[in-house]
């Protein structure tokens, strides 16, 4: 049966009954007994001259005498101290966790970077977790082995099963916080998988702060899971959502960058927060707001500023102040989006299409020949490329609209033979390009039937075959129209204008997202690069460089451990670079208030488990006190025997 045991976090050494220290007060009467003069029997001797060197204290009028560090006093005081501390029940944690095979899972999610409240040098929850892990390792029975895992978004093995405490301790010390939303389930599954085939006692110990994004992941493991919680609850405010886009102001209509943030206060008190917006590597504040956020409240915060053409693609940093226990969620990062005007490059387009494009006031048309567009740098990144009568493969830019391509393969679709008067039978209404329109009543005189291959899918079907297909790749969106609009009555209908506007809007959205969509730390980052790019290098927020192999105009950064800016650069005929932003934006991680662990029924509660997990040392101190008393008695009787 699976057991899930929670162990409340506490200091490494603690007194379970601090009241026992009150017995230390007995030190006072003990010392007084030694300071007070005893009433000595009087005896006449021939001469006290012989006793002069043996005398301890001369007769004085004062009832007190000088305190001398006598051996009995020291021994009795030590015995009393040992007894008092023993009654206070000193205990250490972690000794209870012993077993033949132990998997230690360290939670390294973003919340583990929160500073623990209290006096002294600030320590993070991960520091406390490391201490607990070291105590666990120290309490392993001889011959036991352990493995160490860190659980961020993904599980990572820090040390395989090993008996060497030093190596295991070094592995624990290597654990580092990641600005990600944690998932302990994967780490538990990995630990169970590693221990499953082993015999003997097996345990999985999870050391976490209890602020789990996916608490249910701990349940259902095949091996009992023991949870040690570290860190105390602490108030925190965070940026839990950020969105930046280009827009136009309501008054002057000037183009501006509009940012929308959501601030959340996870504390128990209202907080007055200042939100500032500035560019990366700049100290000037572009926009700021002051607001009071009530406990548990989430407040949307809009910020705007007017960008200059040079601002496009630069980094934006949102920051709330004053800072709190968890700095990583006090900041958010974004990129200045491209302008509202969408550049559209046309090659041999029919006048119908050109006219429909020109109807959009925020479109910059760039007509040209196919040869002109094929030159490196001729097409701006993110621009919509419209080609009529051809199917070029290597054109740069963003979304593509290919109209009436010649027969043959084209972007994953085979363009077939021409058919006369195909009858449109259905279309993909859920696709963004075909929203709000109907193709009923559209008559096509002649069209080339399209046969999607691979990932391509049909958008508009006729009785003979597909007329429009989606030729999007992972890097860029594409639409293939198998007929010339001039050979149909579609341009005369509103659906044609809507179709062109939908394509424009989709291209505009993709352009605003830049090389990559909204990225969260911990998730793979997809970066659109030119298909000609051969070598992609990524510099993460900490300055580390990473090589990524692009494929089909897409580079995937598998591990995004930290929030911040990632600079991606590529080599090739269209060499360039782009700045990308990744954020934590996880309410589950930012909420540092206590949350109940998903303990399974019939098992130990957190409070009881904490006691059970302690190793008491009172008996040792009692033994020490007894030894001291025996020593004291021996010392006194030894003196008497010598006299006799």
């Amino acid at each position: 049966m699976t057991g899930l045991v929670a162990v409340a976090g506490a200091a490494a050494f603690e007194l379970l009954a601090p009241g026992g220290l009150a017995w230390l007060a007995l030190l006072v009467p003990l010392v007084v007994l030694y300071v007070l003069k005893i009433r000595r029997p009087r005896r006449t001797v021939a001469s006290t001259w012989l006793w002069a060197t043996a005398q301890r204290d001369r007769m004085a009028r004062s009832p007190f005498r000088r305190l001398i560090a006598q051996i009995p006093l020291v021994v009795e005081a030590l015995a009393l101290v040992a007894l008092a501390v023993g009654l206070a029940r000193p205990a250490t944690r972690g000794r209870a966790f012993t077993g033949a095979h132990v998997a230690i899972i360290l939670d390294v999610s973003a919340s583990m970077s929160a500073l623990a409240p209290g006096p002294g040098e600030p320590v993070t929850r991960l520091d406390l977790a490391r201490r607990a892990a070291h105590e666990l390792l120290g309490g392993l029975a001889p011959g036991s082995d352990a493995l160490v895992l860190e659980a961020g978004r993904e599980a990572r093995l820090l040390s395989p099963l090993d008996r060497d405490r030093v190596r295991l301790g070094a592995a624990v010390d290597r654990a580092a916080v990641r600005d990600v939303e944690g998932d302990l389930g994967q780490a538990v599954a990995l630990a169970v998988d590693r221990l499953r085939q082993l015999g003997g006692a097996r345990r999985v110990v999870v050391i976490t702060d209890g602020n789990l994004a996916h608490p249910a992941a701990l349940q259902g493991a095949a091996i009992p899971v023991e949870v040690i919680t570290v860190g105390a609850p602490v108030d925190n405010a965070a940026i839990v959502r950020v969105d930046v886009r280009s827009g136009r102001g309501p008054g002057a209509g000037a183009e501006e960058v509009q940012a929308f943030l959501v601030l959340a206060n996870f504390g128990l008190r209202a907080r007055e927060l200042y939100v500032t917006l500035r560019e990366e590597n700049a100290s000037d504040v572009l926009a700021s707001r002051r607001l009071v956020v009530q406990p548990g409240e989430r407040v949307p915060v809009p910020l705007q500023f007017r960008p200059t053409p040079g601002d496009r693609g630069k980094g934006l940093i949102f920051e709330i102040s004053p800072p709190d226990a968890m700095p990583v969620d006090d900041r958010a990062y974004a990129i200045v989006p491209a302008g509202d005007a969408l550049p559209v490059y046309l090659a041999g387009a029919s006048p119908w299409i050109e006219r429909a494009l020109a109807a959009d006031p925020h479109v910059e048309l760039h007509p040209g020949t196919l040869a002109e567009l094929a030159r490196p740098g001729a097409i701006e990144r993110g621009a919509l490329v419209v080609v009529d009568g051809a199917c070029p493969e290597g054109l740069a830019g963003g979304d593509r609209l290919i109209v009436h391509p010649p027969a043959g393969p084209c972007l994953g679709t085979r363009v077939g033979a021409a058919v006369e008067h195909p009858s449109i039978t259905s279309w993909e209404t859920s696709d963004a390009r075909l929203r709000f329109l109907t193709l009923d009543g559209v008559h096509v005189a002649r069209a080339n039937l399209l046969e999607p291959e691979g990932a391509s899918r049909r958008l508009v079907n006729a009785s003979q075959g597909a007329l429009v297909t989606d030729v999007s790749t992972s890097a860029r969106a594409g639409t293939l129209v198998g007929f010339d609009p001039g050979d149909s009555d579609w341009p005369l209908q509103a659906s044609f204008v809507l179709f062109v506007r939908n394509v424009l809007e989709q291209a505009r959205v993709h352009r605003a997202q830049g090389a990559s969509g909204p990225a969260r730390a911990g998730e793979p980052m997809r970066v659109n690069v030119p298909s000609s790019a051969t070598h992609v290098e990524v510099v993460d927020p900490s300055g580390q460089r990473l090589e990524v192999s692009p494929r089909g105009g897409l580079a995937i950064l598998p591990d995004v451990p930290h929030a911040g800016f990632y600079r991606v650069s590529w080599q090739g005929p269209e060499a360039g670079s782009v700045l990308l932003a990744a954020n934590l934006t996880s309410a589950a991680e930012s909420d540092l208030t206590p949350r109940p662990l998903p303990l399974e029924e019939g098992h130990v509660t957190a409070a009881t488990a904490a006691v059970d997990a302690h190793q008491e040392h009172a008996w040792l101190l009692a033994l020490l006190a007894l030894g001291l008393v025996v020593l004291d008695a021996w010392y006194v009787t030894r003196s008497a025997r010598r006299v006799a």
């Binding site: 000595r40 009087r42 012989l50 006299v643």
Partner: protein, 299 residues
């Protein structure tokens, strides 16, 4: 033989068996100092007496009456008969009567007086002179010297009348005795010597003045090995000063070191000045102590 009255007093103090032994021991009592005047004791210097010493050639200026005419008749050489001079000896019995001598069971003073009486008996039995000095803070009482067995009752009375009391300044007492001694003699100091003063210095001065010094230290058994245990307030019998002592192993060791240091000081003095030193326990038979004293041993 002792006179009947004198013998009665001596028997009270010394006992008949002890007196018989003293009669034997008195012949072995060696006194290395002479007090001048004719006496029964053979002097170190040669002089006129009945004991022939040797012949020596006559030298001008010699007393013609001492020429051995018979030898001159036989040898034709004038020689003089030389006789050993016999001097009178005065034994000064300095008996410490400070309060510390009242300690012990029997009291140390009783043993001291018996010891002094024994020496005095032997002295008077040899027709020598004896004089009793009672020491306290200096000489508290000086009895006139007595001679021969006729002086035995007075000597016994003087010793029997001594009572313990008062403080001690033994060095002052010795110095006083030496100053009052016109001629040197045997100086028997009977005391416990529990005196922080310069006693051995005063005794040294007595030796330099020609006295034959004999030291008799009377101690109680529990002064050699104290039987105390625990916490005590010890009161000095002489000064009344109180010393609070926790008697443990360390305290006993400190006491033993000081007591042994005192004995060693007296022992060293005796060896340096060819004096006798006898340590007398109050629980031991006095005969044994007197034998050691007569033998001039250094305990």
């Amino acid at each position: 033989m002792p006179a009947p009255a004198a013998s009665a007093r001596a028997v009270d103090l010394l006992g008949p068996d002890f007196l018989r032994e003293l009669e034997v021991l008195r012949r072995r009592l060696e006194i290395r100092a002479r007090s001048g005047g004719g006496g029964e004791h053979r002097a170190r210097r040669r002089g006129g007496s009945s004991e022939f010493e040797e012949h020596r050639p006559y030298a001008p200026g010699d007393d013609l009456r001492r020429i051995d005419w018979a030898a001159y008749a036989r040898t034709g050489e004038p020689v003089l008969k030389v006789f050993r001079a016999e001097e009178d000896v005065l034994v000064r019995l300095v008996c410490d009567a400070s309060a510390s001598l009242g300690y012990g069971e029997p009291p140390k003073l009783a043993v001291a007086c018996r010891l002094a009486a024994a020496v005095g008996y032997m002295t008077l039995a040899r027709s020598e002179r004896a004089q009793v000095f009672v020491a306290g803070v200096g000489v508290t009482r000086e009895h006139p010297p007595v001679r021969g067995r006729a002086g035995l009752p007075a000597l016994m009375r003087a010793l029997g009348a001594i009572e313990a009391g008062g403080g001690t300044d033994l060095s002052r007492a010795v110095d006083t005795v030496v100053q009052k001694s016109a001629r040197p003699g045997l100086l028997l100091a009977v005391s416990d010597f529990f005196d922080p003063g310069p006693v051995t210095a005063a005794l040294g001065r007595a030796v330099r003045a020609g006295h034959d010094v004999v030291l008799a230290q009377v101690v109680a058994p529990d002064e050699i090995e104290p039987t105390l245990e625990g916490d005590w307030a010890l009161e000095d019998a002489e000064t009344g000063a109180v010393v609070e002592v926790t008697v443990d192993a360390a305290a006993l060791a400190a006491y033993a070191r000081r007591f042994e240091g005192l004995c060693e000081e007296l022992r060293g003095f005796a060896r340096r000045h060819r004096a006798a030193y006898v340590r007398v326990r109050t629980d031991e038979p006095l005969e044994s102590a007197v034998r050691r004293l007569v033998a001039r041993s250094v305990d």
